[in-house]
């Protein structure tokens, strides 16, 4: 719901006064809406991050997270190898609830926005993190 509200806020079109040049080919009303639609989609595109960029950055955050603490009892190189866009925190990476919170905090730092706790609770895989961040306009 928060995402929807944020989305609607960004979808609002700015109202600008049109120049008063008279162009016989340009039906005033049609020209106005055509230009507005163009500006509208540029604005929207500029706000959301590209999903493949988000994927790379999320995977890197988690890989670096795994590297920092090799004392989890098994080969950290393997663990880093298993950090893929489809990896599940618990079943693939052996992360626990404390790790999950730490990863969410690391993602907040990387993408410069706050993830509320009720949303953070649901992020238990890399793909969920990617989906959430890609659909959040405040992510940088």
């Amino acid at each position: 719901m928060a995402a929807r509200g944020a989305l609607l806020k960004y979808l609002r079109v700015k109202v600008q006064a049109m120049p008063t040049t008279r162009n016989p080919n340009n039906n005033g009303l049609f020209g106005l809406s055509f230009n507005s639609i163009r500006r509208f989609s540029e604005e929207v595109r500029g706000t959301f991050l590209d999903k493949s960029e988000v994927t790379d950055r999320v995977v890197n955050v988690v890989k670096n997270f795994q590297k920092v603490d090799p004392s989890k009892g098994y080969d950290w190189k393997l663990k880093v190898k298993w950090v893929t866009p489809n990896a599940h925190f618990q079943n693939d990476l052996g992360l626990d609830s404390l790790d999950s919170v730490e990863i969410v905090m690391a993602l907040e730092e990387e993408f410069q926005f706050e993830i509320p706790d009720n949303e953070a609770d649901k992020i238990n895989s890399i793909s969920l993190a990617i989906d959430f961040i890609s659909s959040h306009p405040q992510a940088k």
Partner: protein, 312 residues
């Protein structure tokens, strides 16, 4: 490792693998008593023993084990289910010998695992309660009778990658953040953080209503100053719930096997007077199911830290 085991299984059916050391029957825990059983995954290297354990699991549990990625995580998942089944099977009720394979489990409406108890007059809630917690190096199972229980363990050396106070401010209550901020030594602060974390987890797990029912920020765990007896009491206070409810919960915090902190939370015995501070009776055993059980209560492998604990 497990693809090898799956090939072995077809051979194993021809040899009846019987446990070399049967599960010895035990008396049930009394009121306000917790039995904690734990395994150390590093002690389990025998493929045939692990294969034996695999045979105890339900088809669903076996599938869950095999979806884990890699030997280590599969072993951990296997040992967790084995520990739960073999631990519960030890407690004979009505003098029936229980086959660990026969135990049935379900999840309560909030997702907390429970024992399905089939009594003669149809199903009723199981008198045996259990809860499990694991790290990569230790898996613990706590068992009580007629009292919801939550248990959480964590390595003493667990490093926090983020700034501890930033982490605490995010998740802990105002009082808890203040308590941590007041600690100047960063190592002591880290230890206190880990202890608070497992106490809070144990409480939420004991409540059994899921994390959303008791978000960490909405309750405070406090360790009251040590009394004359030397034990500091652990209390929980909740901004959401009245005192009459939070008084119901008793905590025990102790060091386990020199390597871990363990927190147990159980509901107070309703028949006893709440004003009388009855200690939590605690028995701790290390086990290799079907191979050996070692009682370590009262040794230096169990060191009480907070909460009224009486080792039996």
């Amino acid at each position: 490792m497990f693809s090898f085991i799956q090939r072995m299984r077809s051979f194993q059916r021809n040899f009846s693998v019987s446990p070399s050391f049967p599960l010895l029957p035990l008396q049930l825990p009394s009121p306000m008593e917790t039995h904690v059983w734990f395994v150390l995954p590093d002690e389990f290297k025998s493929v045939s023993l692990l294969n034996q354990y695999m045979e105890l699991l339900s088809p669903c549990e076996k599938e869950n084990v095999l979806t884990m990625r890699g030997d280590q995580l599969q072993k951990r998942a296997l040992l967790s289910r084995t520990l739960v089944r073999t631990t519960i099977a030890r407690y004979q009720i009505n003098n029936h010998v229980v086959d660990p394979r026969s135990l049935k489990f379900k999840k309560n409406v909030h997702g907390k695992p429970e024992l399905v108890w089939e009594s003669d007059d149809g199903q009723c809630p199981s008198p045996l309660h259990f809860n499990i917690s694991h790290t990569s190096s230790l898996i613990a199972c706590g068992v009580t009778v007629n009292s919801p229980i939550g248990i959480d363990v964590e390595e003493k050396q667990r490093k926090i990658k983020n700034d501890i106070l930033a982490f605490a401010r995010r998740l802990f209550s105002v009082y808890e953040v203040e308590h941590l901020s007041a600690i100047s030594d960063s190592e002591v602060q880290r230890q206190e953080f880990v202890k608070l974390w497992i106490l809070k987890e144990a409480y939420v797990k004991a409540l059994g209503r899921g994390f959303s029912a008791a978000p960490f920020k909405t309750f405070t765990i406090r360790m009251k100053d040590a009394t004359n007896s030397g034990a500091s009491e652990v209390v929980v206070e909740s901004s959401d719930h009245p005192v009459s409810l939070t008084n119901n919960w008793q905590f025990g915090l102790f060091e386990l096997a020199s390597s871990h902190y363990a927190a147990v939370c159980m509901e107070r015995d309703k028949t006893s007077d709440v004003a009388m501070r009855v200690p939590m009776r605690l028995t701790v055993r290390k086990t290799i199911p079907f191979v050996e059980d070692i009682c370590i209560s009262g040794t230096d492998a169990v060191v009480p830290i907070a909460g009224l604990i009486k080792q039996v």
